[in-house]
């Protein structure tokens, strides 16, 4: 079982960002408490195409980019993988990381109605550049990437350090679970 975990971790790093180190994906499958389902010990784990939303460097909005995660059966695990990719480096030049450096995902859970609750670490606020453009991009990158990649997730509630917050840096209303605001997408 341990061998499978190590193998999956290695695969995760390949799947997340084309062979870059696994450290860029802080929440790879195999994290404590999450055991992804693998098929055959010797064959690569099945993968799943997902869509991540990345802000453009010119702050013109979010653009969708495809990526792959492991096709684990747990929607929570898939959500963690998606967020792990968002916390990594952007897939190409001209796109930027939506979330502040050092931000960690603390908790993810999904209720029966399809509301995912994601708690980020304090860095989400403390290291945020601020500004409406950043906040809109950060929130919608999280919300849009999760709702587009994990079918069970219909809406997302963002918490910081387990606490509900009114806003991240004084702009977007986070008091309710959110769906992707299509207006945040780049034209």
């Amino acid at each position: 079982m341990r061998r499978i975990g190590v193998l999956l971790l290695a695969c995760a790093s390949l799947a997340c960002d084309g062979g870059k180190p696994a450290s860029q994906s802080p929440l790879a499958p195999g994290a404590p408490g999450e055991t992804p389902v693998a098929g055959d010990d010797m064959s690569p784990a099945p993968r799943l195409a997902v869509t991540l939303l990345w802000p453009t460097a010119g702050a013109t909005g979010l653009v969708p980019r495809g990526a792959e995660i492991f096709a684990t059966s747990s929607p929570v695990d898939r959500a963690k993988q998606v967020l792990g990719l968002l916390l990594g480096p952007p897939p190409e030049r001209g796109l930027v990381a939506p979330l502040p450096e050092g931000t960690r995902v603390e908790v993810v859970f999904i209720d029966a109605s399809g509301t995912a609750t994601v708690s980020f670490s304090r860095e989400m606020v403390d290291k945020a550049p601020g500004g409406s453009a950043w906040e809109i991009a950060a929130v919608n990158a999280v919300v849009g990437s999760l709702t587009r990649s994990v079918p069970k997730i219909k809406r997302v509630r963002i918490l910081v350090s387990g606490q509900q917050v009114d806003t991240l840096t004084g702009h977007l209303d986070l008091r309710q679970p959110l769906i992707l605001d299509e207006r945040s997408l780049a034209p």
């Binding site: 460097a57 004084g170 209303d173 008091r175 309710q176």
Partner: protein, 495 residues
């Protein structure tokens, strides 16, 4: 009882008792433990004597503590100060507090030439002067003053009278069938202090009473000829219930619809300008250290000056480096019944290239129907509820979504602002945008948020530090406000 028994023995006995009293020397004052007076966080020990088994306190010391000037004209003593005047007479128990008589437990007396008053002077006469209450604890020898708790406070506007009732916890509110000019509501679960009147009444609301009953409170409002509708808003977050008595000229609440406070006038003369962030919240910070809160305050102040020069009154949500909540900012605009709400911000991006100005108005796209339903339930439990008179049913209202009915006007204002900002040299048209901004949600008037530029962009940060940029931005927004004003006046047919 002994005295009463003695009197029953006949006129002779009574005469003997009286004679004995007259012949006996007056009991000499004895120094006893001082009374302590506590008021407004201050306290004082008042020299106390016992005269004829009655605790008497030093009037001069008391006057000094209460900030009153004591004057003496033979037997007549007067305490005078801002709140009013108390007149006492040596040898008499009756004192006048602003013309009203209060009878004390004993007479005002002198000890070695200094006036002393019965201790209940402190708990019965002085509080009337200050419109406060005081508790006398004879055992602990303490008199404690407290602010008078008025259940209802009133504000009068042209088109409505607003009565605000502070409650310790949110009661269940029910309305009794209106009877003539009487509107009666019962607040179950709270007992509020009794009150009669206490407001300046006119022809919308003529009187009110607050009557505590067992476990509940009955409110009775007497409405006048100009009264047309009653709107009740329960503000759980602030533990208060707001009763708006609307006149015929005020817009009546639409039954069964979410309804928000609105400004009835078609006039256009007041803009609330919100300088984004402030105090502990620096907002975005440029590479050179320029803080968003400084830029927004400077532009907001400049904009206020420019609008006032053009005959439009402007209120700033903050005029200094103060910390202010987002909801509080909108609340200032709502309370002032402003015609416009403009929130000034400076933008930021994780990387440098982004530049230009953006103008936002509210979008509710980011919340789906289920979220809104959830919000309604959560609001019911923790936020704002409204009860309307229509049908007598409690009607759920989200003030939080007050901006919804102004979205079209807000979009026109945003376009006008963005158009003017685009004219500024060096800015790029990033266009009018919509977002689910908390500071805009509760605004009961057209409202926009202006991002004047990117602090994360070095050249824009440099510009934002200059008076020229701030004046130009303020000028552009002021021109947009005037254009919006002209548009509205043209549509309403106003001159």
């Amino acid at each position: 009882m002994a005295a009463r028994g003695g009197l029953k023995r006949g006129p002779l006995a009574a005469a003997l008792v009286t004679a004995a009293c007259l012949l006996l020397p007056k009991p000499s004052p004895a120094r006893v433990a001082d009374y302590v007076v506590e008021r407004g966080g201050r306290s004082v020990e008042l020299p106390t004597r016992t005269i004829g088994r009655r605790d008497m306190v030093d009037l001069e010391e008391a006057a000094r503590f209460f900030g009153l000037k004591l004057t003496r004209d033979r037997k007549r003593l007067e305490l005078v100060g801002d709140p009013g005047r108390i007149t006492l007479t040596v040898g008499r128990a009756a004192v006048l507090v602003d013309g009203e008589t209060v009878v004390l437990q004993g007479e005002v007396d002198l000890d070695d030439g200094r006036p002393f008053v019965p201790v209940d002077f402190l708990s019965r006469a002085v509080p009337r002067l200050f419109d406060e209450t005081a508790r006398l604890d004879a055992r602990a020898r303490v008199v404690t003053f407290e602010q008078t708790v008025r259940a209802a406070t009133c504000e009068e506007f042209d088109d409505r009278v607003r009565v605000t009732i502070a409650v310790p916890s949110m009661p269940r509110t029910s309305e009794v069938e209106p009877k003539g000019h009487e509107r009666r509501l019962v607040l179950d679960g709270v007992e509020l202090p009794a009150q009669e009147g206490g407001c300046t009444f006119g022809d919308i609301l003529t009187d009110l009473t607050v009557e505590p009953l067992k476990g509940r409170t009955q409110l009775t409002f007497f409405v006048g000829d100009r009264f047309s509708a009653l709107r009740v808003l329960e503000v759980e977050t602030e533990k208060k219930i707001v009763f708006d008595f609307l006149s015929e000229t005020a817009p009546a609440p639409a039954p069964q619809e979410a309804e928000a406070p609105s400004r009835p006038s078609d006039g256009f003369d007041l803009v609330v300008i919100d300088a984004g962030h402030g105090g502990d919240d620096r907002g975005a910070v440029g590479a050179k250290g320029l803080e968003e809160k400084t830029v927004t305050l400077a532009i907001a102040q400049e904009l206020a000056r420019k609008l006032r020069d053009r005959g439009i009154e402007a209120i700033l949500t903050r005029s200094s480096d103060a910390t202010l909540g987002l909801v509080d900012r909108t609340e200032i605009a709502n309370r002032a019944r402003a015609d416009l709400f403009i929130s000034i911000h400076a933008n930021a991006s994780p990387v440098q290239p982004a530049f230009g100005a953006e103008t936002y108005f509210l979008s509710l796209e980011a919340t789906d129907a289920q979220s809104r339903t959830l919000a309604a339930f959560e609001s019911d439990a923790t936020g704002l509820r409204s009860t309307g008179q229509g049908g007598g049913n409690l009607e759920l209202v989200l003030w939080d979504m007050a901006q919804q009915q102004y979205l079209e006007e807000s979009s026109h204002l945003a376009e006008a602002v963005q158009k003017e900002l685009n004219v500024l040299a060096g800015t790029r048209d990033r266009g009018v945008k919509q977002a689910n901004f908390l500071v805009l949600r509760g605004a009961a008037m057209p409202a926009v948020l202006v991002e004047v530029g990117f602090l994360s962009n070095p050249s824009e940060e440099k510009a934002m530090g200059t008076a020229e940029f701030r004046q130009a931005s303020a000028d552009a927004i002021a021109r947009a406000v005037l254009a919006f004003q002209a548009r509205r006046q043209m549509r309403s047919g106003a001159p």
